[in-house]
């Protein structure tokens, strides 16, 4: 299966002799490394297992199972629509099926699949040994799995969600969806979304800080660029959705009035919060899939990717612009004309950077000499379908056209062309391309071709006629249509196409089974590819690379005859790291721009706590579905314990002397007790996440506020008194000063002072909390009478919860400070806790200024 020289004449830059793409060097410490990076044995071991390839495969397998279930639902929907006035499903079941189909494909298939892929291949692609937070990966997997299972248990209760994947209020509110269905939707999916955010955090840090030495930002594989953009977008998009879901669930269970217009709330607020997530969500899927295509096209076109800087740049541009389109889903709700053009312009112009990707792929293929293997078939199929979907996207980006086809099957056709062409086809290409690296076996080519053609023809038969049916007036989300409207033939063809697609998927499953038993051995580099993951054995060893590669090119396996040559000092470092440490999991941190080695740190090992945290998190959300608030409290307690256990410091596996000796020899510090760079980045991302959540709350506040001419609304409340919240804010500011002072103490290695000052900050935090709570107890309104009260309690509650988490963190630090775990050299945990405290203080001031001060100003 090795691609021969005749098939790759276009790699003019290649200096690597044919059939001899370089492999990574071995080490005499192979067995020790293999052991230290291995997952623990046994059943409990499986729950603790955290290697990126174990987790990546699990996430992908689970996501694929949801894909099959979601696909099955669509088969039933198409059967229902095959003939006019059919009563196979009936309206209620049809509503449930399209809701479950859409939600499954968006939340439980596409995003986890792509994140799973990223976790699976990223460390190999970047030439590092592991993801930075393997335990977070474990947590992410189990929250996703449990969230998905919880979501589907709704069928067992006969109350599957039925308000669409966008769950518009007031349909999804307490009045019109009184059953448990929407609670399942809101809470189960929130669990899965938390998993997605957790994975996003570690993907960002892996890409920015854990690349092989020499892999500068301009040599990063395009897939890394794409997943970096995806991970940031996940942070910015999923957080508003979680906030929106929280508000809606509060409306449903606790009588708040956020989305109730009869009590000052706004139904449109839900549409905003949902689509601020919902549109970027499409690009969260498309961008990494485009990254996959950008990796696969050059390998099969046999030449480097064309226009690398343009492609990388346009990925970044897409990431940004995708957040300026959300209102195009709301063109029909009534908006000021000028505001509408803002979104129309962004919706149409995002075609520019998307077009740059497409043209770069076409240029690469054009200038190359393509080798037609199954992954390449899927890539070309993806291009054809995605371009059609992109063109109809520009059409519906224009408001007048959108008004005509809104909620019709034209839109259904459009977004399936985008998502199947832009996401599903690339995922299949990537499975054919990368699975052999991890299974060691190639998938069968003949079955692959069958899979492709069945899916490609079936897809177009299914969805092309929907454009026409939509323009003829066929409405989406309606379980049937009258005969003699000229819709019959298009629908019958569409249903037939669906079954061709199903046959294609069955062929793929058969291919998986076949290759498992009889697949051809893949060898290291079956496609003669250019990126680092192909320099390891298939499947790769536990530790990935014994000697980390040193990168000198964008295409190391095509342009470097040797993978470990470079600057003398770096060469010495990567070889030293293959021999020491072998008793703990060491990984290298490099700088974000020029990938210079910065420090060696210890990656966390297996632990049961992330699993426990995922279980308790699921308990919380499940209990809330069934309104068992006591069980929720038990879950919260369990979650706090799990998180403390998760972060409990382990005994240092090295001595200070060993660390110092290595640092002297190689010029970079060793932190077996936790990295400075990684923990700082993680803390900054956590704060970013909370800032996004706060912004979503503030957006909700001001959005509801501008719908009222008087604020607070007359008869509901007077502008609030300022004295007590001002006192609370002043006390909290003082606590921030104490925290800064504590940080100063440990910099000077004064442990006693550290303890005292931490305690002062803690006490002041408690005092501020007490004053604020007292003020709340005196408020003359509750959260149920009017949206004003709901906002007052829930925004304040968010700031108070933030303070509580900071207090817990402070308490943990005090405990460990008392155990004398910190010193001037090991002070990063204190620094991070202080940073969190400062951010919390700022969040508090902004929140309460909004609640108490802003009504006085307007």
């Amino acid at each position: 299966m090795e691609v021969t020289r005749e098939e790759r004449p276009n790699i003019q830059t290649s200096i690597v002799p044919e059939g001899q793409t370089p492999v990574t060097a071995g080490t005499t410490a192979h067995q020790a490394l293999e052991r230290v990076w291995d997952d623990p044995p046994g059943f409990i071991g499986r729950l603790c297992a955290l290697q990126n390839d174990t987790l990546g495969k699990r996430i992908m397998g689970t996501a694929f199972a949801f894909f099959l279930i979601g696909g099955l639902l669509s088969l039933f929907m198409r059967l229902q629509l095959a003939i006019p006035e059919n009563d196979l499903l009936g309206p209620d079941t049809y509503n449930q099926f399209f809701t479950m189909h859409g939600s499954t494909m968006m939340y439980l298939f596409a995003v986890p699949m792509l994140e799973g892929f990223t976790i699976l291949i990223l460390p190999f692609l970047l030439g590092s040994r592991e993801m930075p937070f393997p335990r977070l990966g474990v947590f992410s997997y189990f929250t996703f799995l449990f969230g998905g299972i919880l979501f589907y248990t709704s069928f067992l209760f006969g109350s599957a969600p039925d308000a669409g994947w966008f769950a518009y209020t007031p349909l999804s509110g307490p009045e019109f969806s009184p059953g448990l269905g929407m609670d399942f939707w809101l809470l189960a999916l929130s669990v899965a979304e938390i998993g997605a955010i957790a994975a996003g955090v570690e993907i960002i840090i892996a890409i920015l800080k854990m690349r092989a030495p020499g892999m500068t930002i301009s040599r990063m594989p395009l897939f890394a660029w794409a997943t970096l953009v995806m991970a940031f977008s996940i942070l910015f998009a999923f957080t508003p959705l979680i906030v929106g879901s929280l508000l809606l669930e509060l409306d449903r269970q606790f009588g708040t009035r956020f989305f109730d217009p009869t009590a000052g709330g706004s139904t449109l607020l839900w549409q905003h919060l949902f689509w601020i997530f919902g549109h970027p969500e499409v690009y969260i899927q498309f961008v990494p899939a485009a990254g996959m295509v950008s990796m696969i096209v050059p390998v099969f076109a046999r030449r480097p990717a064309a226009a690398y800087p343009f492609v990388a740049t346009s990925l970044v541009a897409i990431g940004f612009i995708s957040f300026g389109l959300w209102v195009h889903h709301m063109f029909t709700v009534g908006l000021p004309q000028a505001a509408m053009t803002f979104f129309a312009v962004a919706s149409i112009l995002i075609a520019l950077p998307s077009g740059v990707q497409v043209f770069a792929w076409m240029a690469t293929i054009w200038a190359g000499r393509p080798v037609w293997k199954t992954p390449f078939f899927f890539v070309v199929g993806s291009l054809i379908i995605f371009i059609l979907g992109g063109i109809t996207g520009v059409m519906v980006g224009s408001p007048p056209f959108d008004w005509q086809v809104h909620d019709s099957f034209f839109v259904v056709a459009h977004f399936h062309y985008v998502l199947v062409g832009g996401v599903t086809f690339p995922i299949f290409a990537a499975l054919y391309y990368w699975l052999p690296k991890f299974s060691g076996k190639l998938l069968n080519e003949t079955l692959g071709r069958w899979h492709f053609w069945l899916l490609f023809i079936g897809f177009n038969l299914t969805f092309f006629p929907m454009h026409i049916a939509g323009i003829q007036g066929m409405a989406r989300r309606v379980y049937t249509y009258p005969a003699d409207m000229g819709l019959d033939l298009a629908n019958l063809i569409a249903t037939g196409g669906t079954f061709l697609q199903a046959a294609g998927i069955l062929v793929f499953l058969a291919n998986l089974v076949y290759s498992h038993y009889k697949g051809e051995a893949a060898g290291n580099n079956p496609w003669s590819a250019d990126s680092l993951e192909w320099a390891t054995t298939s499947p790769p060893p536990n530790y990935g690379f014994a000697v980390m590669p040193i990168v000198r090119s964008r295409h190391p396996l095509w342009e470097q005859a040797e993978l470990h040559q470079g600057n003398e000092r770096v060469e010495k470092l990567v070889h030293a790291l293959s021999l020491w440490p072998t008793k703990w999991r060491a990984a290298l941190i490099t700088s974000a721009q020029d990938a210079r080695p910065e420090e060696v740190f210890r990656v966390a090992g297996p632990s049961i706590w992330p699993f426990a945290a995922a279980v308790t998190m699921t308990v919380i959300f499940t209990a809330e579905v069934f309104r068992l608030h006591l069980l929720t409290l038990v879950g919260v307690l369990g979650l706090v314990i799990s998180i403390i256990g998760w972060h409990w410091p382990e005994k240092a596996p090295t001595t200070a002397e060993e660390e110092a000796a290595f640092a002297r020899e190689h010029g970079i510090p060793v932190y077996a007790n936790g990295s400075r760079a990684v923990s700082r980045s993680a803390m900054l991302l956590t704060i970013l996440l909370l800032a996004i959540a706060l912004s979503s709350f503030l957006f909700s506040y001001f959005y509801i506020r501008i719908e009222h001419s008087e604020w607070p609304p007359a008869g509901i409340a007077e502008p609030p008194a300022l004295l007590l919240p001002a006192v609370a804010a002043a006390i909290l500011l003082a606590s921030g000063a104490a925290m800064a002072w504590a940080q100063r103490a440990i910099e000077q290695n004064r442990r006693r002072r550290l303890q005292i000052r931490l305690a002062i900050a803690f006490a002041l935090g408690i005092a501020a909390l007490a004053v604020q709570l007292y003020d709340y107890s005196q408020l003359p309104f509750d959260w149920q009478g009017h949206a004003y009260g709901s906002l007052f309690y829930v925004l304040g509650g968010f700031a108070i919860l933030w303070l509580l988490t900071a207090l817990i963190m402070n308490g943990m630090i005090q405990f460990w400070a008392w155990q004398r775990r910190y010193s001037a050299r090991h002070r990063w945990t204190v620094e991070n806790a202080a940073l969190y405290w400062f951010a919390m203080t700022a969040g508090w001031l902004i929140t309460f200024a909004t609640l108490y001060l802003s009504p006085h100003l307007t």
Binding site: S218, Q337, T341, L349, P399, D594
Partner: protein
């Protein structure tokens, strides 16, 4: 021969790379929220120098944002052309210039329609 970049230069490269998109994001959020607010409570809408006043605000905001992006783009373009900057630095400068150009175009096209359309008519 290229020289290593200082920490400040590296930080400026990040800023230069993200200046265009960030300027657009700020412009977009401010402009949209302004229109939502202004169009709800300020009826009838007064004209200033021949334009409805919300339109005038958008025009001024557009010009200010374009100037900011132009400044950032000029900065990165200058870096891009320098031969003694390491390859990754020139790459970031190039990416910054391209992003500034793209987002300048988007800001310009977003700001233009207020010259021709009444800003606060609610449609459809």
């Amino acid at each position: 021969m290229t020289k290593a970049l200082t920490a400040t230069q590296k930080r400026n490269l990040w800023l230069g790379l993200l200046a265009g998109p960030l300027a657009w994001a700020t412009y977009f959020t401010a402009g949209y929220l302004f229109l939502e607010t202004a169009c709800r409570h300020a009826t009838p809408i007064a004209n200033v120098v021949g334009l409805a006043w919300p339109s005038l605000v958008i025009v001024l905001l557009t010009i200010a944002t374009l100037l900011l992006i132009a400044y950032a783009g000029r900065y990165t373009y200058h870096w891009w052309l320098q031969a003694d900057v390491p390859e990754y630095g020139r790459f970031m400068a190039q990416a910054g210039t391209l992003l500034s150009a793209l987002f300048a175009l988007i800001v310009l096209l977003t700001g233009l329609p207020v010259l021709f359309l009444p800003p606060c008519t609610f449609v459809p």
